[in-house]
Symmetry: C2
Subunit: 151 residues, 2 copies
Amino acid sequence: MKIEVVYPGRIKNPFAKEGFNEYMKRLNRFFKLNVVNVSSCRTDDRNKCLKEESKKLLKYIGSRDFILLDANGKEFSTKEFSQFIGKYLDSARDLTFVIGGVYGVSDELKKCSNLILSLSRMTFTHSMTLMILAEQLYRVAKILSNQPYDH
Amino acid sequence: MKIEVVYPGRIKNPFAKEGFNEYMKRLNRFFKLNVVNVSSCRTDDRNKCLKEESKKLLKYIGSRDFILLDANGKEFSTKEFSQFIGKYLDSARDLTFVIGGVYGVSDELKKCSNLILSLSRMTFTHSMTLMILAEQLYRVAKILSNQPYDH
């Protein structure tokens, strides 16, 4: 099973980048991981940005299943999230997570997603969402391996 | 209006500490802020730890109103959270946030809280909860000041 995290742009906050890298490193012991950056837009025009970045994301994803992260999506407890990931593990299917850019993603991309997952009702920065997702995936890997979480 | 964040122990992850400090520094332009550490327990006995740390937290808080952070609490969108904080600002009341230790807090402390607030249905580390709270407070300060969020 391979887990892929796809997002436009770079992680801006140095601490979020450090946290993301730390959990991705720890996760390597459990899953085959792939982090993919598509280029972010270079305009402040919100609609143009949404369209442009979402098009690039969809082009990369192709016909694969994917989970989109969005504040208005379905919420899971960490236990429920681990059960969800466990099912993918059992079926040996790959998992692709997509995180939108600064302005989010297009409606078209939302419609194509297999699940819209919410980490919180609150709005987080793009960078912090990436770090939190990596930490939750690490937490899930520890739960599924029956290992205690090491802070 | 003064905002206080009270928690047992120290922030373990260097990146979470860096993120927390960054947002606390930015927040200083908006609110009078106070960060208070009560000492964390030195035992692995979950129940003893819960009791000991919660007793120290309650002793520090005294008769003040406080908001406890817990995954099973009430969820707010960032907009709703800003409206909630705005009401405190209008009434010039102080706000105290309490974050539990590694094992959480006692039922007694939960019962004494004026609100149990959930940042997410997912379980976050103690350190990351602190960083996320600081980022959300900064986001709220920007919303209430009609300023754009600077990533």
